[in-house]
């Protein structure tokens, strides 16, 4: 369908565009910027005056809970949540039940997503069978089925020989390995950052060295095997520093952080708020400052929502018993805008952390508005305030540490592959 997006402020980090101009979409692609292409017959006009027209957001970690955890969320609900949040592409971790370790499962997931015709889903395949850390999955086959990278999600891989073999095998085919650095022995039973708040509240703790020890193993093996390594959900100042120096040494490593960790710290646990039971744990204010510094200097490539919808029964429990995780897809944009305001960043620079940069992590040609690119577009009102009310969220997961917060920035239209899939 030919769509004319009129009068909006176009921001495209990749092409260094930040100006008020029209955007024309034809045959699912970006057809022209500024002036309509010859012979363009408008079918739909979207009035974007006062709005920002940006590439659709790319979320590197959104759990859809299918297959296996449909009581927490389903593809139907979470895909609606994604486009309502302006997220047009998302990578989903393999920690489903069964895990994404067989091509058939991945094909089914891709197929279900395609039928729903909303955001683009990029499954991250399991690195080992059942995420158990013993046997490698058929990575090449899984790529054919639609996987874009391989990961253990939050499951430990304690056998370093298996980890090295997995990296070597992935490197053979030029595949990326995504890992969350957390030593499972040091993190055992832990539910909060090993610091002031856990000490005061008597909560079993996870020390920073759980992250740095795992990270140093991963970086050493990445160096050894030459694999493309993506570090997921970095949480500590020491971790950021290790990634920084690995990048300086020229290691092909990228890194993301969850939006929760950009804004919150252990202090937000307050009186045992189970919504702040997250994995990795919210760390100290100093760690949060280092994460922000890492974002600014490019050590951390992307901000993700770390969307993990949890059902109320699993969340309405004393802190340690409550399931870790929070809903996030609908908050990614406002929390990136909040971060941009606080750090006095150009919007283009801030949006790059959820468009251009994650696209580079994915090695996919998405996240920009170049002529000929797929028309994945997010049109939002950057000034509009809204209150985070659990019942009003589209996601089946209603729990977030930001419940009751006033946030700024509301998605008005979302287009995926040139189709208008959301408007409000």
């Amino acid at each position: 369908m030919n769509i004319h997006i009129r009068g909006g402020r176009l921001i495209d980090p990749k092409n260094n565009i930040d100006e008020i101009c029209d955007l024309f979409i034809m045959a699912d692609k970006i057809a022209a910027i500024g002036v309509a292409p010859q012979g363009f017959v408008t079918k739909l006009v979207i009035d974007a005056h006062g709005l920002i027209v940006a590439p659709g957001l790319i979320d590197l970690a959104a759990r859809l809970r299918e297959p296996g955890y449909e009581y927490m969320a389903t593809l139907e609900t979470e895909m609606v949540a994604a486009v309502a949040g302006g997220v047009t592409s998302l990578a989903c971790p393999p920690d489903t039940d069964p895990p994404l370790d067989e091509p058939g499962l991945v094909e089914m997931l891709k197929h279900r997503a395609r039928i729903l015709n909303q955001a683009n889903v990029y499954p991250v395949g399991a690195l080992t069978m059942g995420l158990k850390g013993h046997e490698l999955t058929e990575m090449a086959e899984l790529v054919d089925a639609g996987c874009i990278a391989f990961s253990q999600a939050d499951a430990p891989l304690t056998d370093t020989r298996v980890l090295m073999r997995a990296m070597q095998y992935a490197a053979t085919f030029g595949l990326s390995v995504w890992l969350r650095p957390q030593d499972s022995f040091l993190a055992k039973n832990g539910v909060a950052h090993d610091g002031e708040v856990a000490t005061r509240c008597g909560l079993p703790a996870i020390p920073v060295c759980a992250e740095t020890i795992a990270l140093s193993t991963m970086l050493a093996l990445a160096q050894e095997t030459g694999v493309k390594l993506h570090i997921c959900r970095i949480s500590s100042a020491a971790g950021v520093e290790m990634v920084r120096s690995a990048k300086q040494q020229g290691l092909p490593v990228t890194c993301d952080v969850s939006m929760n960790h950009v804004h919150l710290s252990e202090m937000d646990i307050g009186y045992f708020d189970p919504n702040c039971h997250l994995s990795p744990p919210l760390r100290s204010m100093r760690d949060r400052a280092a994460l922000r510094a890492g974002l600014l200097d490019g050590t951390i490539d992307a901000i993700c929502s770390n969307h993990a919808p949890v059902d109320d029964d699993a969340k309405q429990l004393p802190f340690a018993e409550a399931e870790a995780g929070a809903t996030g897809l609908e908050l990614l944009l406002p929390l990136i805008l909040k971060w941009a305001r606080e750090e006095k960043l150009e919007l283009s620079e801030a949006l790059a952390k959820a468009t251009l940069r994650p696209a580079q992590v994915l090695s996919l040609d998405v996240g920009h508005l170049s002529i000929g690119a797929n028309a994945d577009v997010c049109i939002f009102d950057p000034d509009m305030y809204w209150k985070v009310v659990p019942g009003a969220l589209k996601s089946q997961g209603k729990n977030t540490p930001f419940t009751g917060h006033e946030v700024q920035g509301r998605v008005r239209y979302t287009l995926v592959n040139g189709q208008l899939v959301y408007q409000t």
């Binding site: 610091g195 000490t199 005061r200 509240c201 008597g202 909560l203 307050g270 009186y271 429990l317």
Partner: protein, 318 residues
């Protein structure tokens, strides 16, 4: 974020932790407890029918004999109706969630819940979800807090030492896993004790414990020097061997309270223990039964302090 223990008039609505409890309320509890203690002939506890017609539910998700019994005695001396519920294995093993349990108990029209639970923060959780008229007393939640124990310890200290502002107090043992220690530390600092020490090996101390306002000692002989009060902690059986400690024997040698080590403290030092004691592991019998021990007074005062807390909660504005 409102203080979850206080109502909108600033009165005690629930007793969940000693942390953040206004010093005026702490003193009021101690003063009120004193009115229940008859010191004329030994230590006797008076009856007072302040909770006539009220019902107190002892809701214990974790086993306890001593604490539950003293709460029961305290409630009965206030003429309350007492119901004991050992939920330990019953409903949670049948799949009932804590929310369901709380809703059911509320439907039974209790006035007060005395709650013990194995998870830190469980008492806060329950206080947040009970009907507005119901008061919650935390009888121990995980490693977090055990406020009535700390308050009875403060009462005992005040009984023997009169003042707090001139004391040096040492807490000895497994601070890491101890809800008693956390509540004692905040109660002591709230009451103005100028020097609180913790004495333990590094494996039994939480990270940044010094941020709680204590001085850290690993050497017991140095830590006990010139102290007025020694608060011993119980060492749980499962900690006695493994990665935290090599053996009970080595622990006793370096951190068990013996007469020899106690000689470093002031002559009139008092020795306390929340019970049940592991004789020969954290404390030598000669000290536990010796002239400086006030351990049995603690138990008696425990009833008075729990009466004070319950009667205060029963008297707050709706």
């Amino acid at each position: 974020m409102n203080n979850p223990q206080l109502n909108k008039h600033g009165e005690l609505q629930h007793l969940l932790t000693t942390e953040g409890l206004p010093v005026t309320i702490v003193r009021e509890i101690l003063d009120r407890a004193a009115t229940f203690v008859d010191v004329s002939d030994g230590l006797e506890i008076n009856n007072a029918p302040l909770l006539q017609g009220k019902s107190v539910f002892n809701v214990f998700f974790e086993n306890s004999t001593r604490t539950r019994t003293t709460f029961e005695i305290a409630a009965k001396r206030l003429s309350a109706d007492v119901v004991n519920l050992n939920i330990g294995a019953s409903s949670t093993s049948k799949g009932e969630t804590l929310m369901d349990t709380v809703d059911n108990l509320c439907a039974m029209h209790a006035d007060m819940f005395v709650v013990r639970h194995g998870q830190s923060g469980a008492a806060h959780f329950i206080a947040k979800h009970v009907d507005p008229g119901i008061h919650v007393i935390n009888a121990g939640d995980g490693r977090h807090a055990h406020p009535t124990q700390a308050l009875l310890d403060m009462f005992t200290i005040r009984h023997f030492k009169k003042e707090f502002h001139n004391l040096r107090v040492a807490i000895v043992g497994d601070v890491l896993h101890s809800r008693v220690a956390r509540s004692q530390i905040s109660a002591l600092t709230t009451l103005g004790v100028p020097e609180v020490r913790v004495i333990a090996p590094k494996t039994l101390l939480p990270t940044l414990v010094e941020n709680l306002g204590v001085k850290v000692y690993h050497d017991m002989a140095r830590g006990l020097r010139d102290v007025d009060v020694v608060l011993m902690l119980r060492l749980q059986n499962e900690r006695m061997q493994g990665a935290a400690l090599p053996s009970a024997g080595e622990y006793f040698k370096y951190y068990g309270l013996t007469e020899e080590k106690l000689a470093r403290a002031k002559q009139d030092v008092i020795v306390m223990h929340p019970g049940p004691m592991n004789r020969g592991i954290e404390i030598d019998s000669s000290v536990a039964d010796g002239p400086n021990s006030v351990i049995l007074s603690q138990v008696t005062f425990g009833i008075a302090v729990r009466m004070a807390v319950m009667s205060m909660l029963a008297g707050v504005s709706k």
